[in-house]
Symmetry: C4
């Protein structure tokens, strides 16, 4: 698979996430573009994730001293420089030869939280190394986990993540079976020759074992029987805090609290799983209210999906998210300019958020209160 | 009328109902396509039946054991393997030479409830035979009835249905007069030479008697005077349970209960009768609430119209339908591949429903409760 | 001004009002088409009059004996065969050489209420004669009045109307000044040579006096000072019942009751006066409720504007209109086929209403109650 | 920068603001057109400012004596002939060589309130002179102020405004930092050679000092630290009444009351600052209610943004604005016909408002009460 990268793009010409997407769409092979952009089935939820932001308008304050904008947030007890975090994304080498290495370095340099995907085309060990080398030490990285039918494999992934200093385990809970993305089915999507789900490769003979591992993986990836009851087992494997990704209901969030999780990510997998699922921004307030009904706690509500502008971040925070994750925007940046492109997308969103906070009269995240947004 | 069927379609390449429709539209003669796709007048209700599904989003559960998806439902005291049932559809030989024979076999093999239309191009006796031969015995078939001005004819149809082992009588109540489908008027729609409304043919001389029967039928098809009062007469003709198709109001549903019916189908005849009628999914909750207000009972609320995806089924069930009927999707499948095409459409919808239930955390239909959907 | 009428249209091929409009648009000179179709300014209200009907769906009844559909209504104490009445429309000779003569005959033969416009291109005397000759005597005709600055002229019109047996006076109250129709301004609209506002012609020398009368008329047409206070004077001129056309508020309807009017027409002049005015169907319930708050009375609430289908009539009646007026549809019919075209449009709408009532389970207008429609 | 003005436009052929915009778009260089038309980022708020007017319909009165329409309003204790005021707009020489001189004369002759922008391409002294020469004395002019980092510069602007007889100080409070207009960034917008932000030019050597002043200005234009606390300082500089432009919240309006301001302008800077900010018409009622909650006062609520028709003015007044400002429409007029074009736009809007008031049955602004509009 050849990338059209003859003419290097000056990533500083990208002004918005849309710019990055527009350019990336012209560069990516159809197989990869379809894989990244698709939602499940009719893509109703993928679109709803975006349009949900249009339902809210910002009721900004004026005459507030905004000469210093402080976007720091605390997530799982750690301070992060910004509420804009990098979501786990599979198969990043489809976008750029350096794949996860590039995005990890971009996030590391930006001191942004980075989440390594189980389905990475770079091993979690390599990602950790790249991230740490790029970071001054202030950043953070988590590991995203799918529970596999093979409990030993699952355990091994958790142990490797902990051994490699990952700060938290993000368990994806919206994928008991795989959602159907029609374009991938029609493209007969599979990783191109020479690209592997690297976390499943045995050390040593990459070329052959990789293919077998991938086949084995595909058949066993999803464990539809895994339930709340089984969380205790997972908790027992590690001291890493556990965050559940894919929760959209208040009652499920409370079960997560009761199960000893440290937080939830309100997410519908970018609309890639259950088409017709509630949009994440629509689901957010219910989850936030349910958690708040238990009184003050350290339990953290995060969100992902549909963030394309700094004002989207502000809206999500006003509705109760502690921080948000971006996925596809990072992939567009990665496609366009590798590490520099991914870093540029992060920079764009951070700058936009800073401007949005200044214009909204919110010098820090504590001032982004619920009344900052109104139905539009 | 020639079908463009030189190149056989591999129905396994159809992934969605939309695929089947897309292909069918290229194959059907305009006369037939228009007959199937049309709604009445401005087709507002036909479109509203679809858009009503967009008003609801699924608030799915996570971390439920969905390793076994059980879509069984009980309808009129009988267990069915799936809540996806085959609606009565007229003149199926317009879609494919094998017409009702093909869809009946497809339904029979799938053990899906099949409803034979009064207006079939295959006699109810032949349909019964085909269905039973294909089914292992676990399936079910009902007979759909229009009340004709000629009470003797009506009685004869009921008696034939009962004699041929039909499990229930589905009386269409939304057609006191025929809705106007503009395309059919402009096409001067009538059955092509050699095709007949087979239930009105006398045994014996098909070629000539058929034409006469059809003309007689057309003039006498609708009995606008038939009312709640007359239901008792119809009940007296048979021991088959009676289901009323075309009810959209709670008060009418309660009259159906009082009249000794066993259920209602919330339906507006696919938007083919009263244009501007309330969309079926919009009408469903009111009907369900009215019936529930009488306390627990075996009275069954079903729905038809606008189902195109497995998630549509889940939404209808969450809003109180016990099961749903699909019509046009079966016709598209029949057009594309005869029995195999109709079976493929059923398979697509069943698979989609199974995936939707898994992703929604609903292992069986009892868990598809009202709170699974929210306004979007 | 030449009409493209070489090839006579068989009006029975028109199935819907839309058909008539489609054909008429190809036949009318731009000057006339623009005059008829335009709303004021941005035409928001003209469009809103149509889209308001889309906000309501019909919750139809089933199993009602609808073998006899009786659409009779009582308006101002008189029985009319149908609630579909012919609105006053200016300058009908722009549509067809026979103009008001043709529509009057069409309405007379149909025994439909016909309202002669002050701005007719045929004198009120001639219209009366044509209508009466065509009618068997069961129909009705009213006269629509603009109050002119010249009170003598106004009085003379009222006296002529009464002398010619008009059954009621319909005073247009939404035109204290003329709304701006941009197309007419750009077209520098005026009546073509040889066409006159016939009610202002002196008997005798038509050719010259007509031009003067028209100029005099134009400058004095609107009396912006005319107010509730002046209604008493108008009442004193005649024993004809008075109906106010253009009321959209409940409080104004009550003032009409207090002023001795016999009814109001909820109307915004087809969106030709105040652009941005509330849509008539949106305004209707408030007017109906206000009038009802005074207890039972003979005061009649009618409506005009935006009716294009029989189901629109049913919706308006369900929301409290006693009857409705159609304007532009008659003009399209008149354009296409003169008297026969206008009659065909009336026939289309009556047939559609009969079908709608049958399919809604409403055998007569008394059964078209408020609960027959729900928000959609 | 050359304007395409070979063929002079007869401004009387402009019938609507849209006409002016349509012509202006063909005449303006892209740099200028983009500068004027752009909103920030995705331009959601710019569009929302317009669409908010569509949410309201006018429930007009009939039979009111509207022979005299009196649109006079009192703003800051002064009577103005009309509630249609001229907003401050930067860099008007981009639209027409005579720039602010032309619009000031147009406003002066129309006796319309004119607000001089800090960012004018004509000095506030020259604008005052032009306005006063054109006005008979009945008009008014205000000065719009940005607080600059250089307090001395800010003070100097205030003192010059007061010395030149400006009647009020309009402080823009929604610009602590500059919103991003993507087209301007891509165009690398800057004033063309020979055009200056004239209020920052030292008297004397224009050619050179101008460039320096502009650069100095650009870097220091926005003072993000300026807050409610600092308002007292600004108040201490002048006896001119102070009006805050850019307030969208009730609580901020009350702080403005408490800070001794005389009024607020509900505004989001034409959607040029915080994209996603609440539409001004959506924000207006909350601001009006908050101010009213303090009881009767002279505190004035004004509005700007999105006004394109006379009925828009009526809607804004019904929702509580005392008067409204128009910006872009004046620029389109200026572009098309200089002073005559700007005057024509004012005339169009005034005539439309007079017609709207007549058709709404509102002879004066006191009768434009809250109940004149309903949600549509």
């Amino acid at each position: 698979m050849q990338h059209t990268t003859e003419s290097a793009i000056d990533v500083s010409t990208l002004l918005t996430v849309r710019d990055a997407e527009r350019v990336a769409r012209t560069m990516l092979p159809k197989l990869a573009l379809d894989y990244y952009r698709s939602g499940a089935d009719a893509e109703i939820t993928r679109r709803a994730n975006r349009s949900a932001f249009r339902k809210w308008a910002i009721a900004y304050h004026v005459l507030v001293d905004v000469s210093r904008i402080d976007a720091r947030v605390r997530v799982l007890g750690n301070e992060l420089a910004s509420p804009i975090l990098v979501a786990p994304m599979a198969y990043q080498c489809l976008a750029h030869p350096e794949g996860e290495r590039a995005t990890a370095r971009a996030a590391g340099k930006s001191e942004t939280l980075y989440v390594t995907s189980t389905m990475a085309t770079t091993s979690l060990e390599d990602v950790a190394r790249e991230y740490d080398a790029a970071s001054s030490g202030a950043g953070q990285r988590w590991f995203q986990l799918y529970v596999h039918r093979d409990r030993g494999l699952t355990r091994s992934l958790v142990e490797r993540a902990e051994a490699n200093g990952y700060g938290a385990l993000m368990l994806t809970v919206d994928t008991p079976v795989l959602g159907r993305r029609l374009r991938d089915v029609r493209n007969a999507f599979k990783l191109p020759t020479g690209m592997f789900a690297a976390n499943f490769l045995p050390a040593g003979d990459i070329s052959k074992a990789g293919v077998d591992a991938q086949a084995a993986y595909t058949s066993g990836r999803h464990e539809p029987a895994f339930s709340w009851r089984d969380l205790a087992w997972l908790r027992s494997l590690t001291r890493m805090p556990l965050v559940l990704k894919g929760v959209v209901r208040g009652d499920d969030a409370l079960r997560a609290v009761d199960a000893g999780a440290s937080g939830v990510i309100v997410s519908n997998h970018g609309g890639r799983q259950l088409d017709g699922a509630v949009a994440n921004l629509d689901a957010l307030p219910g989850v936030v209210e349910a958690v708040a009904s238990r009184g003050p706690s350290d339990f953290t509500v995060l969100m992902d999906g549909g963030i394309r502008w700094g004002t989207d971040v502000l809206k999500a925070l006003a509705l109760g998210a502690k921080a948000i994750f971006v996925g596809r925007p990072i992939l567009w940046g990665l496609t366009v300019g590798g590490e520099a492109g991914a870093a540029r997308v992060l920079e764009i969103l951070r700058n936009e958020l800073a401007t949005a906070m200044a214009l909204a009269g919110c010098p820090d995240v504590a001032t982004i209160t619920r009344d900052m947004v109104v139905r539009s």
